[in-house]
Symmetry: D2
Subunit: 435 residues, 4 copies
């Protein structure tokens, strides 16, 4: 997480101030619940809320205390006591640090998921708008980087839309994975704390109680969360690479918006590069990379060890901030993408009609030619087109073996673009109206 | 995937014979659907089914053809034509190889997921049985590898049960991710194939149609699938490491079953090692490692490139076979685990009662001592116990500052194991009766 | 490791037969050394060599014994005893299984490294030949996928050559990392075995003794080995992606050899796809993925645990066989690559001379214009070329602000391709004659 | 990279101020070289040095310019021009941004490597001192977490020393990988820049010229660098886990230093946890995770794309800062480690002498018993010891089949610890005097 690739909305979740505020809320809710079931005085709970809510926690002061105690939650509690006074002894009753830390982390991850889901919604909106804008804009579909058959630019965007709809569903599931709360004490037995307190805090913090915890909330939940971020990032990479391909000099079917004053290269003033798409390609690699330490975090020792903590202090912010930034950047790219339908047309015509090869193949088999023979007939004409730049239709019409089965007029009728777009509306309906 | 770590049930999904059989079914269902909407003769479809169903596909022959065509699906279709005869030209009409390959892969992954879900069920059953067996068997809970507070061995297993319940839920979701079918032609436009055919084949193969495909089924689905396997594997590792810890010579609270005739070491005849748990620890690393290439597979070029294929030919079998094997091995470990409650008791007593430190701390704060002072009071007695092997309760009773606030009798009452297990039933109810 | 992506030369290293033969050699050399220092009878050592060398080890029989002992080395020793007779009790004296297993693994990894180094040599030879063939074949250099300035196709290959020279150096270093032998007994103390035996076996097996081992050879060595394979694989991916880009329909500057009879698509007979390059792209992902479990294998418990073993049984063959296959496939691609210099020329001319923008910029600054003003002057003419397809030189000559500083004749002289290739020989010298 | 896990010495390498200073030095050295070969006026080069050296670059101002140009090097050059005046047009002549950026990155990585090598040296010194301190302190060696045979605590540390010596060697190699400089222009052809300039700058910056570059320095170098950091981190993890195991309550053979005022748990005042070792365990996971995006960075498109940049802006600091911090923390742990030889002795005696089982096995085979029979004889007595807590020597002496071959007196002599430590000096010599 570096400022260059960060949005304030997401980084603020990970500020020390936010963390301490969440810690306080967890402690204060626990105090309220403890008071309600008669474990601590009601006045104490009230005072904790009042004094703590009014307090401006001093991060530097907490750091100072931690330098001695080497324990961050104790440092915070000590600092909190400076505001609350003697009633502070009723704070954290029967709780262990992890009750606070893990519940807080999950609150943060849930908030981060909400932002990411919002990011995906922005991207989905952009994709949908542009998809309809180019629903019928014919362009060549490519497999292996080689011209295959025509499709439309709208379909390309519809494909991305469907992918990010899945990404959205995965994020909703990932959010649910981590939306749990544990206030269960030192090894999760509730020996020193009443389970009703956990229930109360969970509800207040928008979480559900963890069915069984062992001081910590189990880390398979977080592994799933970060693995999901990695998969979402991989979808970002896919779309970014599509754009980078389309902007290649020889292709130039679409281009990132190039703003006034922008410079593409310090050496070559002529350059306009897809730098934003390249940027998010790299960011996707990072987010993917964070999934692994998160998975290694699962196998903690016995009821817990703390090796996950250093990992999460880094990848918690790193993964969510980076993904949030990349999603927003990608949404911006799509929103402003400059599209060149005329270049799409020009490229489509480049292979002299070869993209109709399958249709001719099928017509030949329908006319009684075996699949193998039909393939050979079409391929020999296709290769002349490919290698010598001939016109495919002309070659086919000149091939007696072909016209013996499929007459020239019928061949001609096959070189018709509408044939390829006949089902676009069907697919759009599938993607945008159901799903 | 090596025989040593494979179960036949899973490997057979990945046999060439199985693959070709699934290919045939897809082609034959497509032929039926094509015939029903009048695209090919009904007799042809019938003949394809009859001849193909009766055919014993010859893997070596297909390999031979592929050596020339360098294309596996064409090789298969050529071989199929050797059985079907002239009607073979109606096979694969308007389809592209990926229609067959991707739908087949998803059928295989769905079957693999079903086996894995069954494996998890076996493990869950074992965990539940053993959890109830040791529901009230007190053992020390450990954080950081250090004695914390008592828990029960049943709770440890309940924790694992809850974790694998989540694993099960994730596998069900992962199965759904890949349970799609695409029969949409060269770039997914249905230009040469009717969408009704896809609908028909999907239904027959137990899948749903992919809303929008581009020759291929999008690989974010598979990334999510393999990432999920990685997370499930990480949970295996967690439980395996727990067992390895428990079997350590100094701990010895549980032990893998050691069969008659088994030898622990070629050099040291006295050895009994947790080799099965160690084995699955390593297997977990492997399965986790396969998640990454799966994520890198997402960003294919344009409508498709084929770089994902070599990856999937390897990790498809490797990840599913290895995970299936590890889950079964782990279930076996749990089923036969030898448990030593007497050692648990002995270990629990090792720290002279220190595991009651929190309870004393809380009593002091309840008696009006500030949190910080109470902590210092308890810690100074605890450290004598820790460092000099003193009895914690005796030390506390000798500490005037402590007894001034909490009389000796009350202290004594606090050294009571039942206190720690009071909520075990509550937790068991949460884990086994709801969730 | 699957037959499809395997070469026999490499797979045979990992055959059980090879493994048992290496085990035998280690045991027999150790026996000789033991006899020489008087620990066992010389006749026994001689008989072990004779009987063992003549023996045809029966893999199925060993598996059968292992099914009871659950220990592979003991199973082998038991089988060996069936050949050697009573003197077999002098085999494995003071050794532990890992002495055999780890030394054997390193022998295998060293042999694998040797093959891989040979593969790289084949690739280097191909790259060098083709580099000189196209040393002066001008082609456009591209940054961000966008035309930048001219380079030569030979330079592209020289760059790859230098990269694989580094890969070779890394493999030599990786080979050295694992070329160690440990015959140090149960926990590496030589308590039951004389260090001279280790020295002797090491020398005979072409290894050096591990300075300090703890039953096992430390796994940081293997982590480095597999990480190196991952880096080498990443270089394969780079070159493969270069080729895939060059073969794109719109670029078509080079193409994989397409053999007679080959079929590019089951649906579209016109297709010629860079499938080999795509294939090795995927294989690179796999090899990279294996680096991670290898790194996780380092942190074994105390003197050893056996969790690394299952990992290595899989990635040992998988990583080396896959990398070997990919390197050979890549070498074949380069050897037979079809190059289209005329298309390079055509593409180069596509941007109307824009690739000279920097030279004009420099001339303007040399003529006293500030860098910022010069950049703006060039950019405004470049953008007209870019957006409206104008000729860059014509635009510049029409721009009074430009010609005021750099006269038209001088501008014209700048549009000269030789300028860009002036240093090609220098670079070739650096790459092929030194380093 | 977060302050919590950072040391200033390393983070300062990555400060914007440091980066701009290095950029300036590269530009200024290039200007000097350009002047020397007559490409720009000598006065200009002099002025660039003078004004630039005196300048206090304003990071905020550079950010401001970049907000318009969207190009960081151009922003810097514009800012530099504000100090240098008209001669600024001679800065960056014939160079491209990457010449500056990539050379700067390598300078930073080299400096980081130097710090890391220094860190390892600190750790090596600590390991050596403590190794000699405990050279003859006998402790049980453990395989699979189970008692094996005795070793010494010094040997454990010697093993770690050898591992970090290898780590040091790898870092030296990694440093060399990235100690290159490229000043070769837009696509690496030197079209607009003289190769002598590169030579000069390289020498001044302590680097060697990259033999062939394509605007960028090839990223396989960086992949190797970061992969190496991952391997070094894995060795950190190994040693940290050793310490965590030794500090376990039931083992307690060593313990992290626990400072006055430190608190182990907010809930349980009795706790003393190996939190530093756990912390570096997690940090190791992070550093390992960064190796992957670095490997994915290798396959850039054509002469370059910029997708590596976002990755490196993050992992450059993250990986080096984290590894530096972890190494220093680990060195501190070793330096202050509290060791409990008496507990080692106590644990060693725990298995009733079983660790001599191999020696008895060997004596039996020497006395003519077959390996299989000897194993069975020893195992049956060992298992009684293991399962019923009997004394191994007593059992053996009571076993007539044993004493028939090896008399009781001889058996007794075998239960001798010195036997196991006889070769410690030899190993120490290997590790500390050669290596």
């Amino acid at each position: 997480m570096i400022p260059r690739y960060s949005r304030k909305e997401m980084t603020s979740i990970w500020d020390p101030e936010t963390r301490f505020r969440i810690w306080f809320e967890i402690e204060a809710h626990a105090a309220t619940a403890s008071a309600e079931i008669g474990l601590i005085p009601k006045d104490a709970a009230k005072k904790i809320w009042e004094k703590g809510s009014a307090a401006a926690f001093d991060v530097a002061r907490i750091d100072e205390i931690e330098a001695v105690t080497k324990h961050d939650v104790i440092a915070f509690l000590t600092h909190l006591a400076e505001f609350v006074g003697p009633e502070a002894r009723f704070v954290h009753q029967g709780m262990t640090s992890s009750d606070v830390l893990d519940t807080c982390l999950n609150v943060q991850l849930v908030r981060a998921a909400d932002i990411i889901i919002g990011d995906i919604d922005r991207l989905l909106a952009a994709l949908k708008t542009r998809a309809y804008e180019f629903k019928d804009t014919v362009t060549i579909g490519r497999s292996h980087g080689i011209h295959a058959e025509p499709t439309t630019f709208g379909l390309k965007l519809a494909f991305a839309y469907a992918e990010f709809q899945r990404a959205r569903g995965r994020m909703v599931a990932a959010r649910k994975e981590v939306a749990t709360c544990a206030i269960s004490g030192a090894v999760g037995t509730f020996a020193n704390i009443d389970p009703r307190i956990e229930m109360y805090v969970a509800q207040k913090m928008g979480l559900t109680p963890e069915p069984v915890s062992t001081q910590i909330i189990p880390r398979d939940r977080h592994a799933m969360y970060f693995a999901t971020l990695g998969v979402v990032a991989s979808s970002i990479e896919r779309l970014a690479i599509e754009i980078r391909h389309l902007q290649r000099t020889e292709v130039l079917e679409a281009e990132e918006y190039f703003s006034p004053g922008q410079k593409g290269s310090s050496a070559m003033p002529h350059k306009r590069n897809p730098v934003l798409s390249e940027n998010v390609t790299g960011l996707a690699r990072l987010v993917r990379g964070y999934a692994l330490p998160a998975m290694e975090n699962v196998a903690l020792w016995h009821e817990r060890d703390i090796s996950h903590s250093s990992v999460e202090r880094m990848i918690g912010p790193d993964a969510t901030v980076t993904l949030d930034f990349a999603l927003n950047r990608l949404a911006g790219i799509i929103e402003k993408l400059v599209v060149y339908p005329e270049n799409m047309k020009k490229n489509l015509d480049k292979l002299g009609g070869l993209h109709n090869s399958q249709r001719v193949l099928l017509a030949l088999t329908q006319a009684g030619v075996s699949r193998e023979d039909a393939y050979a007939l079409v391929q020999r004409n296709a290769m002349k087109t490919w290698e010598q730049g001939k016109d495919f239709l002309v070659e086919l019409k000149n091939d007696k073996d072909v016209t013996a089965k499929v007459p020239a007029a019928k061949l001609e009728a096959m070189f018709d673009l509408d044939y390829h777009t006949a089902h676009v509306d069907t697919i759009f309906k599938r993607v945008f109206e159901t799903g």
